[in-house]
């Protein structure tokens, strides 16, 4: 089969990648739960031990090495033969977070990072 199958999706290839660093930009989803920001990323061909997560109060950077190179085949002249070996993404966070309290897990190629927000809130009495 399936030599053909992925090509159906790969024909109209955008520039969400960096040829020089041979890295792809992963698909991401950011959810703001009020007290916490949850970021997930799709990282196929990646194993848990090959993921590096860097965090400041406002910036999240994820670098992930693929366990095998992905080579564009069957595409147009421009993309044909390009190889990718990692994912890289820098995200500016929508609020300040507490880096020490961040948690992450990796399952079925999806990375989930939970970032508690640095919020100073005061309860207000109702009269």
């Amino acid at each position: 089969m399936t030599d053909k199958l992925p090509r159906i999706f790969g024909r109209v290839f955008s520039w969400s990648h960096n040829i020089h660093t041979k890295s792809l930009e992963p698909l991401i989803h950011i959810e703001d739960l009020g007290d916490e920001i949850i970021i997930t990323m799709d990282l196929p061909y990646v194993r848990k031990e090959d993921i590096d997560i860097y965090l400041t109060e406002r910036i999240l950077e994820v670098k992930a090495q693929m366990c095998r190179k992905y080579r564009c085949e069957g595409l147009g002249r421009i993309q044909k033969g390009i190889e990718f070996e990692s994912f890289h993404k820098i995200i500016e966070l929508p609020s300040n977070i507490i880096p020490e309290k961040a948690r992450s897990r990796f399952k079925d190629g999806i990375l989930e990072i939970r970032l508690p927000k640095r919020i100073r809130k005061r309860k207000i009495d109702i009269k």
């Binding site: 089969m1 399936t2 992925p6 159906i8 999706f9 024909r11 969400s16």
Partner: protein
Amino acid sequence: MKPFEFLEKMDEKKENMIEIKEISRFEGNSIILGLPDVGLVGSIASAHLIDQLKLKEIAEINSDIFPPIVVVHKHRPMSPIRIYANNEIGVVISEVPISPDMINPLMESLTEWFKSNKLELVISIGGIPHPNRLEIDKPKVYGVSTSKRLDGVLRKNKIEMFEDGLIVGPSGIMLKKCMEKGINAVYLMAESHYKYPDPGAAASIINAISKILKMKIDVKLLLEKAEEIRITARDLMKRTEDVMKKMEKMHEKEIPMMYR
């Protein structure tokens, strides 16, 4: 001129702008509609069906309202929306997301084509976003149909009925138009990631199709190639996500207020 008659005329004009150009006659009796949507479930499953069942291209769909994209395959330009088939089954596939202004005219032309081909069954396939998809090993498939008889077919094949809710996008419109035209149709939805290509959900859909059509379609290779598909489908997923945002796909997550 009646109020808003000009809008009706515009819609009519759009319908006429869709051309289903047949390369060869469709001789099957069922068709699968797998368009880009949640988790690209329909697109991934359709691509697998085309490959596994060795379907041949029988028609391409052209229109001035489609984005100005031409796919080049084996040095020849072709439309990004095409129909593949053998003498039993057909598959409608699109390599571009279906934007809101394309939905009604495209579904009108397709359902007219289904009717003229006297199809026994139309199966639209897609995903239904599940907030805890990561915790699910085998995504469940839900179904909605146009008749009680087809409800029975779904139940017999242990496909859970989609009782109440909203369907946003081409599959919902297709289902409604099929019902109006008396065409038997079901919409199968697998629990899926919303924004990530989901070959696991596509495999669940193919298993459900196998049961309904009593055909043996292997999903082993699809699951083996899952990671590669997730990379190659990335850009189509991104473009589909933009279109889903425009058609307010998130409405599907709402709790509907139902009048009974």
